[in-house]
Symmetry: C2
Subunit: 191 residues, 2 copies
C-alpha cells in the first residue's frame, strides 16, 4: 500500500544550546541513517530542510554520489534509500509541494524531546495515518529541537519518547524509534 507519510529533517528554524534560533549544518550520518529508516518503513519521501545554499549543494552532491556516482556501484542499497531524499528551503515550501501533489492540505506533525501542551500519543497518530487520503509530514528538529513557532503552527505535536530519567537521544535514534512505533509491524516480529 502506498504510504501517506513524509519526513522532514529541519535545520532551520531550530534552537541552539542557548535557546537561540539558528541554522545547523547538515550531518552526513543523518542523511544516510534517516534515508535507510525511511526506506525500511516505506515512507513516501524524506526532505532535508535548510535555507543555506552551501548546505543545499552539499546534500545534492551526496545524493548524486550515491545515486549516480561511484557510490551507486559500491553500495546499491544506498542508492535505493537516497532516492527518497529531497532538499527544500523551508517547511512551508515542503508543505506546499506535498499538498499540491495530493491536492489536499498536508497535516504537519512536530516532534520533540519534551512534553508540550495538547501533544498526541503514538497510538493516536497511528490511527490518524490510517486515513490514506491525507498526506502527513512528520518534522524532526536538529540541534536543540524545533522552535515553539514550528510546534504551534503544526497540526499535531507528538509525545516524546520516555526514557529512564534521560531523554537525550540523537535525532537519528529518535527517528528510528518513532517510525517503528508508527509503522513497525509488531505482529510479524513480536513472536
Amino acid at each position: 500500500m502506498e504510504s501517506n507519510l513524509y519526513l522532514g529533517l529541519v535545520h532551520h528554524p531550530i534552537y541552539d544550546k542557548r535557546g537561540e534560533v539558528v541554522a545547523t549544518a547538515v550531518t552526513n550520518f543523518d542523511i544516510h541513517d534517516i534515508a535507510r529508516c525511511a526506506r525500511t518503513f516505506g515512507l513516501k519521501g524524506f526532505y532535508i530542510i535548510t535555507p543555506l545554499e552551501s548546505q543545499i549543494q552539499l546534500v545534492q552532491r551526496i545524493i548524486h554520489h550515491w545515486a549516480e556516482g561511484p557510490g551507486a556501484v559500491y553500495n546499491p542499497t544506498r542508492k535505493e534509500s537516497l532516492s527518497l531524499v529531497r532538499v527544500s528551503r523551508t517547511i512551508e515550501e515542503v508543505s506546499r509541494e506535498i499538498s499540491d501533489l495530493w491536492q489536499r492540505r498536508v497535516k504537519r506533525v512536530a516532534t520533540g524531546a519534551s512534553h508540550y501542551p495538547k501533544s498526541i500519543g503514538f497510538g493516536t497518530l497511528r490511527e490518524l495515518l490510517e486515513d490514506r487520503n491525507t498526506p502527513f509530514l512528520i518534522l524532526f528538529g536538529t540541534g536543540w529541537g524545533l522552535t515553539h513557532e514550528v510546534k504551534d503552527s503544526s497540526d499535531y505535536v507528538l509525545a516524546p519518547i520516555e526514557g529512564v530519567g534521560y531523554n537525550h537521544l540523537s535525532v537519528r535514534s529518535a527517528v528510528a524509534i518513532i517510525l517503528d512505533r508508527l509503522l513497525g509491524d509488531r505482529i510479524s516480529s513480536s513472536e
Copy 2:
C-alpha cells in the same frame, strides 16, 4: 529497578562486504548514539568490542574527552551516557566479566538483519529479560554483521526487524529500534 541487560557492539569477528571475517574501525557516531540509547533505556553497560590496540586507545580518548575533559563541561548529558561505555578485546572477555560480576553465566543474544534458524521474537526476549537474576548481553555486529560462529555460540538469536522489502538499517538505528521494542514503555506513550 536495576537492569540486567548489557549491550556489545562487535568490531570483530564480523563479515565484510565479501563475507570475509574482518575487524572494522570504531565509528564515533556509533559510540555516542548507542551510549545515549543505552542510557535512555536504562541499560547496565555498553561494551565496544575490538581487538585492535589503536581502536581501544581511540575509544578511551573519546570517553575521557566527554567524561573528564572539555566535553564534560560543554555537554554534561554526554558524560552521563558515556559513563556506560567500556572497551573489551573479545566477546569472551565481556561475557566473563559480566558473569563474574553476577556470579551467574551471562546469556548471549545475537542480532542480525536476516532470518536465522531457531531465532526468537521480540516478545519472547522481553519475557526472558523479566528474570532479573540472569544477566543478558545483546550483541550487534558492525560491517556486514556478526559471523555465524558468533550466532551459533549465542544462547539466542533475535529475529530481524522487518522492513518493507528492505532491511539495510544502520547499526545505530537497529539498536534504537530493538532497545525500544524490548524496553520501551509503550503504556505511557501509546496514548
